[in-house]
Subunit: 196 residues, 4 copies
DNA sequence: GATGAATGAGCTTTCATTCAT
DNA sequence: CATGAATGAAAGCTCATTCAT
């Protein structure tokens, strides 16, 4: 099998980066976990940063594919949003390491962090597109689709990471219905919700 | 004036921790920015970790006070939620450094990170309390107030940090109405919002 | 009372120097134990080294006085040696801190260590004098009184420090008879002791 | 050759530890003397303490082997004691650095010091064993073989270290006969040595 | 392709000493 | 006389990266 070592390094790196954070993660620990010599990592990746970016790149792509490919193209925006919520929770359930990496490592002015945000923006723009479609169809109403998209993404993600560190055994996907309902119909009971 | 040096260190530390992250921040840079000798920091704080925890403690307390003290006690839960959204955005507008620190440094198993989350939980519980009050009054409906609270907190925070790294000049508070409306009435236009 | 603080510092310093060794002892700990401010130590002693030398000077003088003043001037050299053994053990029993300081801190090329050894040499020379007197009187026989003196001093001291770190409750003075006998008559039973 | 660097570090460490003492010795100086980078020391030894303990362990083992392996098994206890005196002096002549390290660094409550004393006790017990054999054979008489053993060890060691700091060119082994005679037959001329 | 010994810049922390009060 | 906040040089230790094998 090609890339056996690469894969081992990749998996070990996700482990270690999510457990320690980028700065505290050491190439020694990654090498030990991957059961390769430290030099071997440098044969496959030019630097710690490059390894990280590769990993984040793959992860974000996988997030995009996992979530967006499940969208039923003919469904309503409302239905698509429900799928987003469910699938993103499912993704974070399966790849909780990556959920942690996103929230810890995306914020800063280092190259890897800007790069990371570029990828996240790409994903959130897809959510924003759905919101905008919903508006165009008259399903949704909001004055600021970008704000809507980021708060949807942030709401799901922070709910998920809180759950991850709670170390509960409940499956993240179980939060999907409540979360989707809040996003779509809000907290207010229908007969009220007056404007100030 | 007492504590002049302590304050300088405190402010410098917020700066540096938010710009570099806990691990990459150096005591040298904090000392230089505070215009004190490195030893002076250690005269006031026993370690880098202790300095960080002190700072996070003060920051989280200030967040709690800034937001929760503004809550009109006699108002409806709906109105209280609007205040939360506005005031938390205002807080992040004024203390964007602290917004960054929260989202970067709260997630992990180090002592300082667990401590940090304990404080955040305290704040988010207050939001959860309002949601539960709203339910009790018949204003709100949700099957999972904890999920509601964390997704509200996360939605506001991630919207804010995205905005901070966008380096726009728009005041964060301007997002308050749209964000509040989404939380309260949801995205869906009132005449629909069917259940699956 | 004059020198109340000086005395407190002196006693605290003996404590700390013997517990930690010169290098690891800190002026902070000495100040804390003496219940004075750190600056106060520097009012009474110019430096850590000076404090140490003063303390060692006093201690060695006290050792000399404690032991040598007990020597019955009219007694035989044999009897005087017995007194030396007993009184030095008694001194180490009362000032075990100082016993530790002697054996830890006298060996090296720092100024304070040379100074220390100068004082020790003075004390050991007194023992050597007794040995030489004994030879002159025909009581003792040895080809090397200096070696005799140092090995007597070393034998007593190392026996004592071993006992101190054993943390036994036995009084050091109880070893005096056996130790004196060994020094004076040797291990061999009288009817033998052949020369090689 | 394997362990070339390790050996260089080992030798440099003995040098520096004996010249400066454990606390004052710096890893920088050891590295410089060993002509390796500082990090290299940490590649081979986990800490300054571990390097020290390793060195002391080897040294004490070597002391034991150097001295005890020379003991003629069929000889009398008296003869064995003479060998001990001569060989221990020879060892200290060859490894004066280690003689200094023993007397400076064995006394204290740090882990490395307790460990050190454990090893010394092992060596001194061997001397004690010889004394006890001598008693069993009727060659020796003493009420306290442990005291005898420690004072023999201490007498030799302190005589040696005094000589080392005197920087004389005389070979330590030249003191062996006088020292042995004192230990075996004592100072007193045979016709006396009365008990008080 | 793979290894792991070696490196050295850079980090946190300590602590004797000073000095304004 | 006495204080204790402030200092900065110096030390132990870490770790990404390199390179000879």
């Amino acid at each position: 099998m090609r890339q056996a070592k690469s894969h081992a390094i990749f998996n070990a790196a996700i482990d270690v980066f999510s457990e320690r954070g980028f700065e505290k993660a050491t190439m020694d620990e990654i090498a030990a976990k991957a059961k390769v010599a430290k030099g071997t990592i440098y044969y496959h990746f030019n630097s710690k940063e490059e390894l990280f970016v590769f990993l984040v790149d793959e992860g974000t792509k996988l997030l995009g594919e996992s979530v967006l490919s499940k969208l039923p193209q003919t469904a309503t925006a409302t239905e698509q949003l429900r799928v987003i919520v469910r699938e993103q929770l499912e993704f974070f359930q399966n790849y909780s390491d990556f959920c942690i990496i996103i929230l810890r490592e995306a914020w800063g002015e280092d190259t890897r962090q800007r790069e990371f945000r570029r990828m996240l923006v790409h994903y959130v723009r897809a959510i924003q597109g759905i919101v905008e479609n919903g508006i165009a169809c008259g399903e949704f109403a909001t004055s600021d689709p970008e704000t809507a998209a980021w708060s949807i993404f942030g709401g799901i993600s922070i709910r998920a990471i809180h759950h991850i560190f709670t170390r509960s055994t409940i499956n993240l996907v179980e939060f999907a219905p409540a979360l989707a309902e809040q996003i779509i119909t809000g907290l207010a009971t229908s007969h009220q919700a007056g404007e100030p």
